[in-house]
Symmetry: C2
Subunit: 427 residues, 2 copies
């Protein structure tokens, strides 16, 4: 503990109020697969970190990075083979209209670039996001962060729209009319921009609606929403920083909704922790964007980053990890349903694939959010050797999103620990 206190003190001086997880912060020093270890040798099952997508310190990824680092690491104004092979492999998994790739270093950079492409192609400036969104930390992207401002956008160029929460549909809304009612809110936002003299540019959603509480959109909603956006001359950006690379059971997050976005952005899991992200779009949008000048990014698409990305795809293929996501994900959903039946404080089961959660409530009847219990639970889970976190507007949704090599045994350990920890907490 004296070591922890020393780190905390130095950290406060150097990094100020930078955020830390858990009431008793962890000092992690080792990772392997789905496991991490702290400095005292205590082992934790990592059910939170999606960045080490195919597992902490995956040897195939580590070797790919190290091998390329020893050859050459340089920017993309020279020719490389790897950037092409990797980009070609990515777009081969997408609708063939999505054929152009830009490589960048982070989800924030990717969303920045996506927004620049949308502005240039539409001549518009107004963006629609959800009313509990987060897409990154640069100025234009952080203006979208309604989730960091109690539902309010950061500038007049952003409007936040309510999304359907199927667990808490308002009076008069049901499964049959929910898609149209909520899609109409997008149409309303477009009209508001027009009334305010701001030309509409486009819409951006997280493909797994994570910050919003891991929501699943009702059938038909996404299709109708995109229709309104396109009818108004706007473009749709699918932010797949969290929902791509098999996370939700398909290669890409948007594929669960039977839509084709105009732009897809990726990030976090792409290089298993190595900073790489991308923007994928249609040829005409990429060309129009670059009419005034070519986009360049010093680190973006360097051969080491691309080797990391390639290795992640190799591991996913070799270990059939998307199949694993579906198999283990289905097993987890079944066990989560059992917990839902057992506990009055669990209101809803969320998610798909290996991105799942539980909505914690004061009671099944009140459906009142229980952020306090959630907070206690995630801290008690850490003490019991399992890392999870919370999300949603009231931080009352357990957020579980492990490396996609997660096995049924891992799932049992998680869910047994959750069961035990929760019964201990509610006595």
């Amino acid at each position: 503990m004296s070591n922890i206190n020393n780190l905390l003190e130095r950290r406060k001086k150097l990094l100020g109020p930078a955020s830390l997880f858990y009431d008793e912060p962890l000092h992690l020093v080792k990772g392997e697969g789905v496991w991490v270890w702290d400095n005292d040798g205590k082992k934790y099952l990592d059910v939170y970190n999606n960045v080490p997508h195919v597992g902490h310190c995956d040897p195939t990824v580590v070797d790919a990075i190290c091998n390329q680092l020893k050859k050459i690491n340089i920017h993309t104004r020279y020719l490389h083979e790897t950037i092409l092979a990797y980009g070609e492999r990515l777009i081969a998994t997408l609708d063939k209209s999505l054929s152009r790739v830009f490589f960048v270093n982070s989800g924030s950079e990717a969303n920045e670039l996506a927004m620049r492409i949308v502005r240039k192609n539409t001549g518009g400036e107004g963006f629609i996001a959800s009313n509990w969104a987060y897409h990154g930390n640069t100025k234009a992207v952080f203006d979208l962060a309604t989730g960091f401002r109690d539902g309010k956008p950061g500038s007049k160029y952003v409007k936040g729209v309510a999304l359907p929460d199927m667990y808490r549909l308002p009076d008069g809304v049901n499964e049959n009319n929910v898609a149209e009612i909520y899609a109409a809110k997008i149409k309303d936002a477009i009209n508001e921009f027009e009334a305010e003299g701001i030309k509409f540019a486009g819409m951006i959603f997280c493909s797994t609606f994570a910050t919003e509480g891991i929501l699943r959109m009702p059938d038909g909603f996404m299709g109708k929403a995109l229709q309104y956006v396109r009818d108004a001359g706007g473009l749709y950006i699918s932010d797949e920083v969290q929902g791509a690379f098999g996370r939700l059971g398909k290669m890409w997050g948007h594929q669960q909704y039977n839509i084709i976005p105009d732009i897809i952005i990726t990030g976090k899991p792409m290089g298993n922790g190595h900073p790489i992200a991308s923007v994928i779009t249609k040829e005409k949008f990429a060309d129009t964007f670059q009419e005034d000048g070519r986009y360049f990014n010093t680190f973006g698409g360097n051969p080491v980053s691309c080797a990391a990305g390639m290795a992640v795809l190799d591991v996913m293929e070799k270990e059939k990890l998307i199949e694993n996501v579906n198999e283990v994900g289905a097993y987890i959903q079944m066990r989560l349903q059992n917990l839902l039946e057992k506990y009055d404080c669990i209101g809803d089961v969320r998610g798909s694939g290996l991105f799942f959660g539980l909505e914690m409530v004061k009671s099944k009847i009140s459906k009142e959010h229980d952020g306090e219990l959630t907070h206690k639970l995630i801290n008690a889970m850490a003490k019991n050797g399992v890392l999870i976190r919370s999300t949603g507007p009231k931080k009352s949704v357990l957020k579980m999103r492990p490396p996609i090599i997660f096995s049924k045994d891992n799932a049992d350990f998680l869910l047994d620990t959750l069961d035990k920890t929760l019964s201990g907490l509610i006595r």
Copy 2:
């Protein structure tokens, strides 16, 4: 060549008009120290790439990255030792008022964050940049890119000011009055913002004025300029993406001007090619910025990036590279002076440390920029096995910026090749 054509074709399909260096693009596959090799085994002296700061594929840096990759690579909401040790080591080389560090992934992200810190601390939105600037590719930062818009800023929140070019001072301006005359232009821009009802936020310059043509500011100019900025309640951001880590002969670029910036941003050379960048500022600015919420960056400050950064500092110290920059830099300046005397088409010698250039002109009397000769020269140099590029508003300044392990022998090879290539070109 068929291989090159194949790469070019695939690249055009996947990356569109993404920029490439040289009329005959290079396919580089290997790097070591100051040397790179193309796919045909041809060897080039790299006098352009500052990102591999301590040399291509430096083994100390490669080992540091690989060792950490095998242990753990995770975000900063858990405690780590390396981020603290690295940050502490960085700020120990700066004025002690600059004590807070944010780690990010690129210079663009760093400038975005710096601008957010300035906006929040000043309540202002108006930024002054040079009238031939480039600071990165995100929306707010690209609005500063006057150098990509024929001297014009990208929004009403940016004003570009003319900087003194000591080689071409206008009538009535001389060494005695230049600092005051050009500093007054900054005061004018501040007044213009006020007249337009835009609150002034701050000023940002590249510490080595690279895009502007590798200009060196006259004595007293930077001090006067900062005084005007601060008198108006603004903050000064020193963009040291190109000018730090000993590049100009001192650890930091701003140290050549005897000023203390409010914010320093770094990038490119920091991790020898690994994507890492940072924002360093004063405690009060960092704290005020985070009053509304804590800044977080998923990849920023991860232990692998910090290990890369630490290794770069290790190599710099062990190999006494800042001393090398000064010694070899002085030798190069002497030899550049000889070339200046020999050729009528060389108008001026630029730079300091290992960031240097030559201003190419139609004649010493006309001082007319010769971008065409510069273009021919850099392409002929590549054919002759030396990589250099051009910069400046007319692309008429040779830009030379090798890894800082560059030796006198390397300098002789560069300058002999330059001499020979130039005499061949002008017949």
